[in-house]
Subunit: 192 residues, 2 copies
């Protein structure tokens, strides 16, 4: 593995600080200390805390969107791709939990996905495709994609904000297929 | 309607300030000004901003839990009650949008429901009852209730945080029954 650059070390440190005390509660000085760089060095890479958040958001959105689009635009029925996208989302979360949480649940609202296709739009594409193929129920594809998103985001948000209340999908992948079953049954045209 | 008390005016002002600039961004002075009371008067009712947030949280949890439990513990099949609870949740949101958002999506984590049964626990009771009656699929009732919660919370969160991205359930109740159909189909034992 390549030695992480100073820039990567700063981004990792910022993400860790944001996860621990929130964006508002994080000081640039703490990020620099955690990254093991001077504040001057940090400012050579990022002009502000806002710019750091934007970079983290664009990075996170980038890898989530890439992985999600790979499944959604790949082969198989829409039902198979919906299942793979749902299970895959929890896999991505376990690979980069802080980045996933930052992007999907609490990034400051000045962050924007930039040129990246937002995950919701990719899910809308999948739902529309399933409707065209007659696999999924009719209805507003954006709203249906939003409900699928809720089934991915809520277990993560609840386990993070209220530890112990719900099974933690971070340490336990045994619920992934039940969550996929839930969204597949919810969208399936047959059975309605 | 009774004239709102000074205490109610302070709570309403705090909720409005929190909704506009967040808990961290709100100053006690702004709450007092908005409520039309002196800071001294405010402090006679609430010792701190934290105490105000706790009071708002307990109030909001109280009326949501009462309305939800009324449906869940009422008559009808579990499927009928699941549908009524889902549609009813969006009705509650439209009645008190700021309070609903505060309680279910962004209350500071030092807030606790106190003696009130949390909405998730009420939904767990409904899912378990439907499983016992053979109406709902088997599986971890807490996780399944969490997914139902996600289908209620996500449309509200997305429409609030990214206006224009998804249909706004606040001004438009035409999606309520499609959302209820989604969770009913997701949990129905037949059709799986």
């Amino acid at each position: 593995m390549a030695r992480p650059s100073q820039k990567d070390a700063i981004l990792d440190a910022a993400l860790a600080c944001f996860a621990e005390v929130g964006f508002a509660g994080t000081k640039i000085r703490s990020i620099a200390e955690r990254a093991g760089v001077s504040q001057g060095a940090l400012y050579r890479h990022f002009a502000s805390k806002e710019e750091l958040a934007r970079a983290l958001y664009a990075d996170g959105m980038g890898w989530i969107a890439e992985a999600l689009a790979h499944v959604v635009d790949g082969g198989g029925t829409a039902t198979e791709r919906l299942r793979a996208a749902t299970v895959g989302a929890f896999g991505l979360y376990r690979e980069h939990p802080s980045s996933f949480r930052f992007v999907l649940t609490w990034a400051p609202d000045f962050c924007s996905p930039g040129d990246v296709e937002p995950p919701l739009a990719i899910l809308v594409r999948l739902v529309s495709d399933g409707q065209t193929r007659g696999e999924f129920v009719e209805g507003d594809a954006t709203m249906l994609a939003c409900l699928v998103m809720g089934c991915i985001v809520e277990p993560i948000v609840l386990a993070t904000n209220a530890p112990g209340l719900v099974p933690d999908v971070l340490s336990d992948d045994s619920h992934d297929s039940a969550i996929a079953d839930f969204v597949v049954a919810a969208l399936a045209r047959h059975g309605r």
